[in-house]
């Protein structure tokens, strides 16, 4: 609370409370221990106030007010739960339920659904007085990443807010009005026929089971059951600070040891770490930056490890593709190396390797399926599952996650530096790159490893680094709206940066579209902290000092940007049509 901020005194359910000016009734009520029900409201999105489930009574006023959109005022007396209010809320809920399939047992969001929870809390189940008018609409499940089950949509509008305003992709929209008001795509097409970048952000804000990830867990179980397959798994940096949420651990808990143990119990033959290949990414991307800086290459160079972002720039800014680093993402570098370097080292026929990855991201499913991602001679990454799907596998296996004794990753692709671990947050790739680029360029040891200016959840963060007399200006953006801003500036020649980090999701991978339900700004902050703390505790915090990476280059790849590295670890991009 800032000292110059005015405080407002009011009474909620007979309890006096003082809150800063501008607080909503919804948030003020939390301070007196009252949870007002919400549906269209999401803490990180602009308030729409369309559902009216959050109505409250104001003493002296006849009309109810929506708590999520009404700011407190001096002397207000709010009654959050009078019989009249209860009646009004019930009506709202009954209207929704009359049109809702209520097929909870077969629903992916069963036990994690806001509508279901509300129905239980308000005691409306089976007592609905209204006639059921459920519309059965076709299920859109053909793109391999995002499923849209419009029959379950309650038209809260959270996804459109996310897709239109936060991500500026515009794949989902509202349509029609009054009785036929709808949330849909342009001309009711499948997501595959829209500009959707598969970021999955809509799935993280949908209160019900109307938008969710395409589930690939069956494929993983099938591979694990096949005795002829050698099934390996890689885990993205941010998964280890998010998976704990699913099993009741406090937000941001670093549960790497439990996670590795769970993967072994599930039956993977080797448990490897994407952090290792994040270090490899820094070797390639860092050297690419140096090469561009010293050879008048296209600048600024923009990072390329976030596949939703890649689809975005390919679709909306195809003329800017030369700015993208050609380095593949850590997931894809890992995939290309596991079926070459590892296969060779372990003496396993790559044809028998099934490479699985656990990612915070729905767009990673699409990235792995891109036709060019088979430089190992096979599909580099066979199956991608999100953090949510991973949690489902742990449950299905009957594992008590928190009770598992902690275990370590396998060698050689399980050894990583602190630079690799921070890849999971906005600013992490930039910081990791700077830690290496500085030493490679200046040939001096970097003592202050923390680049605090690029940390945190702000949409845009800038910093200037002195590379022994050469100043390098960098900017870090997260969320596609901010990416759009930077691209426009670059296009108009107004941006004076040499290096740009873009992550598609707000906050970076800690807030990825495949992370556990209920991820909000606060959760992301805890996860960021979890990653930076882990980095801080590590002895080796720079990618080029990772012994497992050094020896891999020595024994297998040769030089960064060398011929073999170029073939396996770099890629190209495809301009796409907008509609």
């Amino acid at each position: 609370m800032q000292p110059d901020c005015k405080n407002i005194n009011l009474i909620i359910d007979g309890v006096p409370v003082s809150v800063p000016e501008g607080t909503t009734i919804l948030d003020a009520a939390k301070k007196v221990g009252v949870k007002i029900p919400t549906l269209c409201h999401h803490p990180d999105l602009k308030v729409r106030a369309t559902c009216r489930i959050c109505v409250v009574e104001i003493k002296g006023q006849r009309k109810y007010k929506t708590a999520c959109s009404t700011e407190v005022w001096e002397g207000a007396e709010v009654i959050t739960n009078s019989p009249g209010v209860q009646q009004a809320r019930k009506m709202v809920l009954e209207l929704i339920l009359a049109e809702h399939p209520q097929a909870c047992l077969g629903c992916l969001r069963n036990t994690k659904c806001e509508l279901q929870a509300l129905t239980a809390e308000m005691g409306v189940a089976n007592k609905n007085r209204l006639k059921k008018t459920v519309k059965v609409l076709p299920l859109d499940d053909c793109n391999g990443a995002i499923v849209r089950d419009a029959s379950k949509c309650i038209q809260c509008g959270r996804c459109t807010e996310m897709c239109q305003e936060v991500q500026t992709v515009g794949a989902i929209t509202t349509a029609n009005r009054s009785m036929s008001y709808d949330v849909t795509t342009a001309f009711g097409k499948k997501l595959r026929e829209t500009t959707c970048v598969y970021c999955g952000q809509c799935t993280t804000v949908c209160p019900v089971g109307a938008l969710y990830e395409h589930d690939d867990t069956e494929k993983v179980w099938a591979a694990l059951a096949d005795p002829n397959k050698h099934v390996i798994v890689q885990t993205a940096p941010s998964v280890r600070v998010a998976i704990g949420d699913e099993f009741g651990l406090p937000a941001g808990t670093f549960s790497e040891g439990h996670m590795v143990a769970a993967l072994r119990r599930i039956g993977f033959d080797k448990v490897f770490d994407t952090n290792w290949s994040a270090d490899v990414t820094i070797m390639e991307e860092g050297h690419e930056l140096i090469h561009r800086l010293t050879n008048r290459g296209v600048l600024p160079m923009i990072t390329s490890c976030s596949p939703g972002w890649i689809k975005f720039i390919e679709t909306f800014y195809p003329d800017m593709l030369p700015h993208l680093s050609t380095a593949k993402s850590p997931q894809q570098m890992f995939g290309a190396l596991v079926k070459t370097f590892y296969a060779e080292k372990a003496g396993i026929d790559p044809a028998n390797i099934v490479s699985v990855s656990v990612m915070p991201c729905t767009a990673k499913k699409i990235e792995a399926a891109r036709p060019e991602m088979n430089d190992s001679g096979y599909r580099d990454v066979d199956i991608v599952i999100t953090t949510r799907e991973f949690a489902r596998m742990i449950r299905r296996k009957g594992l008590d996650f928190c009770a598992l004794p902690e275990e370590h990753f396998d060698d050689p692709m399980g050894v990583a530096s602190g630079a690799g671990v921070i890849f999971g947050t906005s600013g992490g790739v930039m910081e990791a790159a700077l830690r290496t680029v500085y030493e490679v360029v200046t040939k001096k040891e970097l003592h202050a490893l923390d680049f605090k200016a690029v940390r945190g959840q702000q949409g845009m963060k800038t910093a200037e680094v002195d590379l022994d007399g050469t100043p390098v200006k960098v900017v870090v953006v997260n969320g596609l709206k901010n990416a759009r801003k930077i691209l426009n500036e670059i296009r108009e020649g107004k941006a004076d940066y040499q290096f740009v980090e873009v992550m598609c999701c707000p906050g970076g991978c800690v807030g990825g579209g495949g992370q556990p339900v209920g991820t909000v700004r606060k959760t992301k902050a805890s996860r960021m902290e979890g990653l930076y703390t882990a980095d801080h505790k590590m002895n080796i915090r720079q990618s080029h000092k990772n012994p497992a990476v050094i020896s891999m280059y020595k024994d297998f790849l040769g030089e960064p940007l060398g011929e073999k590295a170029h073939h396996l670890l770099h890629t190209h991009y495809t301009p796409r049509e907008q509609q």
Partner: protein
Amino acid sequence: MTVQPGQCNCAAESFTERDVVAIVEKYGREQDQLLAMLLDIQEASGSSCVLREWAAIVAREIGLPLSKVFEVLTFYSMFSTEPRGRYLVEICKSAPCKMCKSDEVVAMFEKELGIKLGKTTPDKLFTLMHTSCVGACDIGPVAKIGEDVYGDLTPEKVSEIVNSYREKN
């Protein structure tokens, strides 16, 4: 070109990307002229609709997501995204017209055109539909075709009106 009833006039096919772009340009590519552009397209298309492909051109030319154009198209009831007849025969369904038997007028047109309410004639000339009040309750029940409003209708009069449009084509 004269088109005989029952023969396709292929209006939608002769309306091309170039025509759409010309309309967009007429309005200076201004995003806030979207409504006017869409109305012009619907009018000029000869099929009383804005097809997805045309909406996509508009979206591209003025830099809006296609979904935003779609939102506008579905918000206003005067737009259709499905091809309709060159002439929209709109029968008022508001209360005063209902009271003086607009249903009978619907039946007269159904008979004359050989289609049901909501359908388009095979020659793609007429679509028969309901509309909200057109503000001519004194001569109700009324039918509106394009900008013209007709009242005090009888089966003979309906036949005469319909034929006058047929002759125009």
